[in-house]
Symmetry: C2
Subunit: 303 residues, 2 copies
């Protein structure tokens, strides 16, 4: 446990610290603040809640110069859309802040926007604004807004004891491809699945798998004040168990359903696999086949 | 004119290009897309319109390492709030994406958030989310959401022929202080003035002065398909005329009113000065005392 806490400490503690400082929002229109995939805002008089998420993509941190710019543009938006999917939302619009580096030319910029706008158009998230600047290295930050009917957003803090834990797809593919020097070109945010989870399957909790299931399930369990017992999740072809447990950027969904719920084995070609159960126990503790699983997924601030 | 077009070309052309690519939003909920201080979104069933703006602040581009972090946090948010003010909005919430550099420690981060949250609390813009990452250099991107009653946002494309042109405050102060090696600590977004312009004075157009009036008035005039005639704007104590015309980061408001409108000489201690008139003529052309004024304000992409 001590080691687990240490491993998970840095980014988690930093966010907890910011959340304490930011305080509880004064306004009733803020349904949910810092700590989930999206913030939730309730416009006056509306019967829909709006979801907001931002995600950065930085040269040298998230990608290298050789990365095809059209794939980067796609990925910048896909990361944000994945957060909207995790809450069961419909994408509404996006804004992009982009700082270009000296080595960037007009063709790069065109290709970047081409990739981003292809996904924006497919998923109904028009680009409505943003900011342009320059920097030593390319960096961008996407803001995506989504919507759900009032009070129906899926959250990570609402799993219940006895709920079944599921993942979509197979894990470790992104880490495996990265290790082979060929990062995933165009991740597919699970928007249709997110809507299904909200509308038809009444999932009790959900989040997206961006940092590895060992860390992300720890976060979901901690937010829900429960522990989690799992068996090995489905592995992407060629991925090691380590990559499936701790590798980031799979952008699959992790979700919980009442233990007795029945689920089809797949949805739109994506497998849905039960991997475990939410239990009473130390908040955030995860066991894999009965053995404590350390949250070793991707953490920007691990010492 | 050729020279003017060339000088103004780069960032403007880049934005025009992105706007063309992004296309007209498919959804009726997008009231205004790329090209103004904020995008405007109309939630279903609501009687308010929501305003969205993002602004980056990047080490080496916008500030140096020695800059006090509490002032930086303040400024990151102030830049976004200034865009909300320009459209006459009430701040509602903000999200912050922050990438920290290796030289950053916990005290820096605490001070940064302290500055940001002080302004957020004062102006009613609670921090509800964002993203954390790391990078070679510090960079942050703020998203601010504001609101206005339906259809009442002030825009830059709605000035009319014969309208009087006004500025708040005195210009060139930020450029003057920067030249003296002591950048402005805590810019004050003109939120109360923006609301007054919308509610009581019925301004016909408005925008904030972030890149220098020579460039910003060119943008307002171009968006409104008019030209503008001005005399020298009020200068901040110690600022040169060049600094007042082309210096960025003043965060004052530039606005237009019907020519016959009466305005008090100041509001809440901030002078309001008539500096000219909107005219029929080449869209975007600005003259100062009858002489063409080149849009030499700050442009990230000037060759």
């Amino acid at each position: 446990m001590v080691k687990r806490n240490r491993a998970a400490s840095s980014e988690e503690e930093m966010i907890a610290r910011i959340r304490r400082r930011a305080g509880l929002p004064a306004s009733g229109s803020i349904v949910l603040g810092i700590g989930d995939d999206c913030a939730i805002f309730r416009p006056r008089g509306s019967n829909e809640d709006l979801l907001f998420t931002t995600d950065m993509l930085i040269e040298g941190t998230h990608f290298l110069r050789a990365h095809p710019p059209a794939d980067l543009g796609w990925k910048a938006l896909a990361r944000g859309l994945s957060d909207i999917a995790a809450m069961g939302g419909e994408p509404r619009f996006c804004l992009l802040s982009l700082a270009v580096a000296p080595w960037i030319g007009p063709r790069w910029i065109d290709a970047f926007y081409r990739g981003l706008l292809a996904l924006a158009s497919r998923e109904g998230a028009p680009l409505v604004g943003g900011d342009l600047s320059h920097a030593d290295r390319v960096m961008c930050d996407i803001l995506v807004c989504g919507s759900v009917p009032r009070s129906q957003a899926l959250r990570r803090d609402s799993a219940r004891r006895g709920d079944a834990i599921y993942v979509s797809g197979a894990l470790g593919g992104a880490a495996c491809r990265l290790a082979q020097g060929r990062p995933t070109a165009r991740p597919q945010p699970r928007l249709a699945l997110g809507r299904l989870l909200r509308q038809k399957l009444h999932a009790t909790a959900a989040m997206d798998l961006s940092d590895g299931i060992s860390l992300d399930l720890h976060r979901l369990a901690k937010a829900s004040n429960l522990s989690a017992e799992i068996t090995a999740p489905p592995r992407h072809r060629g991925a090691t168990l380590e990559q499936a447990l701790h590798g980031g950027e799979d952008y699959e969904l992790l979700f919980t359903l009442p233990g007795a719920a029945r689920l089809p084995p797949e949805f739109a070609g994506v497998p849905l696999t039960r991997i475990g159960t939410m239990r009473r126990g130390p908040a955030g503790a995860v066991t894999l086949d009965g053995v404590p699983l350390e949250p070793l997924g991707y953490d920007h601030f691990r010492p």
